[in-house]
Symmetry: C2
Subunit: 515 residues, 2 copies
């Protein structure tokens, strides 16, 4: 892990030509991915885990899973010893788990800036931003369809967010670019506006291939052949259906040695049973089938066990977030993933609120905390999610990204060395004294406590004089400042030109489609 080094900051340079060069070399501080020094939290007993594992195998054996419109997949399954009945695949007890065994327990995803490489698995937690919303919102402009300009802004914010390790994928859906071409612009933005690791396109196998080709331009063909440079999101159509488009993208990535999150997408009570144990059983069955399939495509392909799982409001049919049942499922899924020996993806800045208000923050904090303690290794949607995932929120992006600092500090655990014991300080101060000026406080205060970069800690009178702003208003100001301070990371001009040319050539090769 020598390539995933401690936080770095390269300062701005001097004047004239030197300044121009230094400006292009500017880099913003990014924390290293989290390595937990705290235990995982587990809610399922050994007995419950065994029941769920047994039942998941029963689902695969008796009910089976569907691979519609995908004869190649059915053939792979038949060759592996599964029973094929139309599009239904029934998997003998134990076979899927056995196939999963070739998937690595952790992998390194390389970034073009090696300081930003992430190691996914083990005790680690990698944080990536919101993925997928067709809308954006900010305080000034309200809710509106996302554009490519919004997309670039969110990539910039992600690049500048200290506690965010990953640039993500579809940080919002750029609806002003043709559906069949927007993946090119999105990848180009991640590759040129940030130097953090990123995700590839999954909406067509051909777009996955474009993602691999663009990565080959960025990293070099040989490097990509030998290393993982993308982690992409393959959703399962719960219950138990594996969409041929998603499976096609998975095949492309697995064969190229690129990582995929294989993730049931479940609103409990709609796409899975209304109970926690039932949902976990279905999640496990789906993940076993999906990860087994990835290994049939290429044994050893890096994959993450995903679990996007939330509950439903049975009155309105709306998904609900940050709920206790979602927490139970997340904790339980983490236990199941560790027993499978696979990296685990779950949790995020989930909320149902329409605004970055108290509801959004309660729901998000519930989910972020649970995600850390559940042993999540890759947290997609770690900042910026609003309105059940329909909206990428500018303000909430920076609010959540700030809160991600608390996860880093929590994960560091408790120091117990002599300095931390602070007995000299307690002796120095004594009963009735105070610690503000004592030697131990002076030596340690800078590193001792996590400090928000956005929340308000001012005295009431100061805060009132400054306009009595709420968190959203403070965040609006921070978004503007970050976008104004943004500076592009350096990139080799030839690489940049090659990326530009690839995108231009691909765009010219076929007409726009908005379907």
């Amino acid at each position: 892990m020598a390539d995933a080094s401690a936080p770095t900051r390269r300062a701005r340079g001097g004047g004239g030509a030197a300044r121009r060069a230094a400006r292009s070399a500017v880099s913003f501080e990014t924390a290293r991915f989290i390595e937990r020094n705290i235990p995982n939290y587990e809610v399922l007993t050994e007995e419950a885990l065994e029941v769920i594992e047994h039942n998941a195998e029963t689902i695969l054996e008796e009910i089976g899973v569907n691979f519609p419109d995908n004869p190649a997949a059915l053939k792979r399954w038949a060759d592996a010893g599964a029973d094929i009945d139309g599009e239904r695949v029934r998997i003998p007890r134990g076979l899927a788990r056995q196939l999963c065994a070739t998937a690595p327990s952790s992998y390194t995803q390389h970034a073009r800036n090696p300081d930003r490489n992430v190691v996914v698995g083990g005790k680690n937690l990698v944080l990536a931003p919101v993925y997928g919303p067709p809308f954006v919102r900010d305080a000034a402009g309200g809710r509106r369809y996302a554009t490519m300009e919004d997309f670039r802004n969110f990539v910039k914010l992600g690049y500048m967010s200290k506690w965010l390790h990953h640039s993500g994928g579809t940080v919002c859906e750029p609806t002003d670019v043709a559906v069949n071409k927007r993946h090119l612009d999105m990848l180009h933005a991640h590759m040129t506006l940030s130097d953090k690791p990123y995700m590839g396109s999954v909406t067509e196998p051909s777009r996955a291939r474009d993602s691999v080709e663009m990565s080959e331009i960025l990293f070099g063909k040989e490097f990509v052949a030998e290393n993982t440079v993308m982690t992409s999101l393959i959703n399962i159509n719960s219950p138990m259906t594996f969409d041929d488009v998603m499976m096609g993208a998975l095949e492309v990535y697995a064969e190229a040695g690129q990582a995929c999150i294989i993730s049931p997408f479940i609103v409990g009570g709609a796409m899975a049973p209304v109970s926690v144990a039932g949902t976990l059983t279905q999640v496990l069955a789906e993940v076993l089938a999906g990860i087994a399939y990835s290994q049939l495509c290429k044994a050893g392909a890096p994959v993450i066990m995903g679990a996007f799982v939330t509950s439903i409001d049975m009155n309105s049919g709306a998904p609900t977030f940050g709920t206790p049942e979602a927490a139970h499922i997340t904790y339980g899924a983490g236990q199941l993933a560790r027993r499978l020996g696979l990296p685990f993806r779950s949790a995020g800045s989930f909320c149902g609120s329409k605004l970055p208000d108290a509801q959004a923050a309660y729901e998000t904090a519930n989910s972020l905390n649970m995600g850390l303690l559940a042993g999540v290794n890759f947290m997609l949607h770690a900042c910026g999610w609003l309105e059940g995932g329909l909206v990428s929120s500018y303000e909430k992006f920076v609010m959540d990204a700030d809160q991600l600092g608390t996860l880093h500090h929590l994960a560091a655990g408790v120091q117990i060395d002599e300095n931390a014991q602070a007995m000299d300080a307690i002796r120095e101060v004594g009963p009735g004294g105070h610690y503000l000026g004592c030697a131990h406080t002076q030596a340690n205060f800078k590193e001792a406590f996590w400090k928000s970069d956005i929340l308000d800690y001012k005295p009431f009178e100061t805060w009132a004089d400054e306009g009595a702003r709420d968190t959203q208003a403070l965040a609006t100001e921070r978004v503007a400042k970050m976008l104004s301070d943004y500076q592009q990371p350096t990139i080799d001009p030839a690489t940049r030109e090659a990326l530009d040319a690839f995108v231009a050539q691909k765009k010219a090769a076929e007409p726009d489609s908005f379907m």
Copy 2:
């Protein structure tokens, strides 16, 4: 625990006199106190715990604690074998822990409605509202000094809050009543406007005696002699100073068999070392001395190990809330309390924000979740806290009280019986189906998921049509509805008259003091 029964609801009655009688007998649903069916979360290793325990004894032995202006306390300590030097008490290694052994590991606090009794200790969690703010805030009136009318409103809201088990104490400081008389009005409000358990006054030993006497009127003298009917808050002046007024109140309560929380009040970096381990060491030393002293006053007196601990913003000097360091301390203090065999008080709806906005909710959710997982048995400030405890917020009170429902559902743990396994549902629905209409969903959906009574789950268009309200606006509406729906629980008229008379007589007996 037969007296702490399941939630009850008594419906409104018919017309005329019957209706008037039934109206006076109305009762709002209150959940039973939480009994955790989930594990505690622990961050300290055995080795770290032993270091902290050893160092705490070193503090007591070498540095000692101060009991200023309290010759009776010094005599008690001398008789017990401590070394007295002026107001400094040095306690031989092991003596304080030995004295703590007579404190019960759990106790029942009785309410005048036995359905509302709470059992404090073990796996239980009892939730009580905010305590102490001199200001109140609501959206319409802004921030202002609290009055007795505010106080009564908060008691009413607490009484009607389903997830709140306890009426609390100084839900706000009624600044329009004389300092030497307001405890009478506050107790009268808790006793007559609610039937949940409550806290007594600690601001003078004489006021603690008034609290016992008013409780004797409410419960009967014999009952109070034999049962705990109050849990009161005794703060330690950290570092290591035991205020004679607080100790006087503790003596009154301990001798009357009434419970006290004995609680360091620490902003880390100011009243304790800037490190987690150092703060935990001082907290343990202070609690050992305080609880030992309670047992010197009366062996067997029920007490709670308290830990009000937060961090500081070293730039502004402001206390900060919901921080990772506060979580570490809370988890660690829970471990120390369990090793002492004592009930544990910590966490709450802590926040530094001036408004019930996203900052308030992030900070509060962080603290509430940590409190549940840390094994807290008595959570004071569980709802309504704003601006570092300077303000009781109407809106935040009902917002937080709603979130307390998530703690109940989280604590229930995961069911794994046949119904929860839901295999029949998975078979019924099969790949590609949906669960909304299946038999298992229909049979289970009502109880399956926690549901907020205040947060917004509506479609965007409906929400926009209804005024695009944020959480605070929804809470404003809920506060108004609750106060309008409030109905006083029945009380024996003779008891009520006796309470009125006691308050009137006490108020007439001395002049108002606002000091």
